[in-house]
């Protein structure tokens, strides 16, 4: 049997708008993934720790406040320090088009601004996570 993809949906920082995080969490679960939701107000260290503890394949950030650049900069740096490069990092939320190349340069693998169809995100994740059998 194929191993289920494990994904951590994380709300970093102070932003409490979690409609999007909870909606995508339900969609990914319905698509057969194992979803862990961090809850609100997580520090970067807490997110990294949960990702290691839960042995996830993917970290999915949800950011609505506009602080995605400083958050991703810190997170990608910490992930390098901890040798977590095999975990896919993706982000959703209020992400202006002009910030997409900046995020990619930092090492964010997938960017899904608000309104991206579930199908698209699910397909992308399934294609990019190399599942062990």
């Amino acid at each position: 049997m194929e191993k289920k993809i494990r994904i951590l949906i994380a709300k970093p920082g102070l932003d409490g708008h979690d409609r999007g995080a909870k909606v995508i969490a339900q969609a990914l679960r319905d698509a057969g993934m194992e979803v862990i939701y961090t809850g609100l107000h997580q520090t970067i260290d807490q997110i990294i720790q949960t990702a290691i503890q839960e042995d996830v394949d993917v970290i999915g950030l949800s950011v609505m406040s506009g602080a995605h650049l400083p958050i991703c900069e810190k997170l990608t740096q910490k992930m390098k320090e901890k040798n977590l490069q095999d975990i896919l990092l993706i982000i959703g939320g209020v992400i202006p088009k002009r910030d997409i190349p900046l995020l990619q340069k930092m090492g964010v693998h997938g960017i899904f601004p608000g309104g991206t169809p579930f199908e698209e995100s699910i397909k992308w994740i399934k294609e990019h996570v190399r599942c062990e059998t």
Partner: protein, 542 residues
């Protein structure tokens, strides 16, 4: 944005319309519908300004007074915010509604490591009284009421506001603040919570009790169905949950030995306007009636002024789209129309660029002009409750009323709103519906023009508000200077007294006022509360 489901046949004829609240709309309404639903013009309607206030809380509606316009405003430093306040007032805005940045909402000072990257981003940074002195400089606080959109630390911000007013020489019985101060809705839908439920509700009780005695023109709580609706619930649940939250705060004050008529007229509501136009108008009319009944029948209120549902009906954030953003100008106009037909006392609109970031001055002014056009050109001041007596609207109003009552009962059966939030029931219910809604949009069952129908491909460029990193640096410098220059021994002493009051469960407001006057920071006062009260733990909802 379309929130009703349209069932059609192959010839594109509409066979059924199902509102988000679950009500089916008929093609034609007649006198018989009113008879079938038991409509009684005297009991269900009466005149505007008369119980049960379905038609409005003022006998003359907008003829006696236009609505107050209060765009949500604030960003960067207090200087930048003060400038924007003055701009809006110079263009005819009649109230203020302060947006605070996330660190301030979470009780963190601007130089706290957790605040990094967030200072001044989604609102103005406020650390100490010095910031309010700058933000409200030259604002006539005896004429302009001020909404303070803050919840977990609303008690601190209300004290800060009073200290500012005093400093500028305004009498405390002349100034009017409306702190949002609704922590239960933060736990359900907006997420800016800090303390556990019980002490958080007690803090709200403190602000209500204090305002009743010290700040007679202040509305100490603005109960927000708004954010719960933004998070995914139906218009019926928006009202039912808001009323049950309000009832929780009422009971907190009643158990301190006060009578309902002593304080409840300080309650206001913040309700949403996006969605099906008719459903919104019926919602506001049903809500006014049920609030009056709730106070009379459940709490025995006798004073007519206690029975009035006052509030800000506006926003509409979830209806706005990133795709084809100019469409949001048009949406906003219809949402504002719903607010006007619903008899809003106060209004505000999300600006057309707010799906991207906080508004530019141009976008904020367009929202203001929308209200001015409705009131001064289109005819919304002409007559009170113009849709009254319509077979359709009166039937729908009564159907909404019945559904709100049912939903309120569900919460009662669960043991009240505190239980419903602590167990995660409401959060689960809201998240489930948000998911269903999004599925409906993605399948094209709920139409969003420009998103899933009439799309244009290429995203258009909009001029956006730019975040200034220098604002954060300036803010941190100022707060560090305040800490150096104030009388630190006095601050330490006052914070200790605040701690004593919190531990003894005394009303903390007088202690907060003294702390604010001595330039204690929001972070320092919040830290005292965190040590005494602890922090809220989110119930797992998956």
């Amino acid at each position: 944005m379309g929130v009703a489901r349209y069932i059609k046949n192959e010839k594109d004829e509409v066979l059924d319309v199902i509102l988000q609240s679950g009500i089916h709309i008929k093609p034609v309404y007649t006198q018989k519908d009113l008879e079938d639903i038991g409509f009684n013009p005297q009991e269900d309607l009466a005149l505007p300004g008369e119980y049960p206030f379905t038609r409005g809380i003022h006998p003359m509606g907008y003829r006696s007074r236009e609505w107050t316009t209060r765009q949500y405003t604030g960003f960067g430093t207090p200087e930048e915010t003060n400038e924007r306040f003055k701009l809006m007032i110079s263009h005819g805005q009649t109230g203020l509604n302060v947006a605070f940045d996330l660190p301030t909402q979470m009780g963190l000072d601007s130089d706290d490591p957790l605040a990094e990257g967030e200072v001044g981003r989604v609102g103005m940074a406020v650390d100490s009284l010095r910031d309010f002195e700058i933000a409200f400089k030259d604002i006539p606080l005896d004429r302009i009421g001020v909404g303070l959109t803050i919840n977990a630390v609303a008690s601190i911000m209300l004290a800060m506001f009073q200290a500012t007013a005093e400093k500028f020489g305004f009498k405390k019985d002349r100034v009017s603040a409306t702190p949002q101060n609704d922590i239960l809705k933060e736990m359900i839908g907006r997420g800016a919570w800090i303390f556990p439920v019980q002490p958080a509700v007690r803090l709200i009780g403190d602000t209500i009790e204090y305002s009743m005695k010290e700040l007679p023109r202040t509305n100490p709580v603005s109960v927000c169905g708004y954010h719960i609706r933004e998070s995914g619930c139906s218009p019926v649940q928006e009202i039912a949950y808001a009323f049950q939250i309000a009832n929780t705060y009422i009971e907190e004050v009643l158990q301190r030995g006060y009578g309902i008529d002593d304080f409840v007229r300080g309650f206001t509501f913040n309700l949403n306007v996006f969605g099906n136009l008719w459903e919104q108008v019926a919602k506001f009319r049903a809500a006014r009636k049920l609030w009056a009944k709730n106070l009379k029948e459940r709490y025995g209120a006798k004073d007519n002024r206690s029975l009035l549902l006052r509030g800000i009906f506006g926003g509409g954030g979830y209806g706005m789209t990133k795709a084809q953003p100019e469409n949001n100008i048009i949406r906003g106009a219809y949402y504002a129309l719903a607010a006007a037909l619903g008899g809003a006392q106060t209004t505000a609109l999300c600006s057309f660029d707010e799906a991207y970031t906080i508004p530019t001055p141009r976008a904020a002014l367009l929202s203001l002009r929308t209200f001015q056009i409705l009131m001064e050109e289109i005819g919304l001041r002409d007559t009170v409750d113009p849709l009254a007596g319509s077979y359709f609207i009166e039937t729908l109003t009564k159907q909404m009323e019945e559904k709100i009552v049912e939903e309120m009962k569900r919460v009662d059966e669960m043991g009240g709103m505190i239980k419903a939030v602590e167990t995660g029931y409401v959060q689960r219910e809201v998240a489930r519906q948000a998911y269903e809604f999004e599925k409906g949009v993605q399948k094209g069952e709920l139409i969003k023009v420009g998103v899933n129908k009439y799309t244009e491909g290429e995203e258009m460029e909009v001029e956006l508000h730019e975040y200034r990193w220098e604002s954060a640096e300036e803010q941190i410098k100022r707060t560090q200077a305040v800490r150096r220059e104030r009388e630190n021994r006095k601050v330490t002493q006052l914070l200790k007294e605040l701690e004593g009051a919190a531990k003894a469960q005394k009303n903390v407001m007088p202690y907060l006022l003294e702390c604010c006057k001595a330039y204690a920071t929001v972070g320092e006062m919040t830290k005292v509360f965190k040590e005494v009260y602890g922090e809220f733990k989110e119930p797992s909802i998956f």
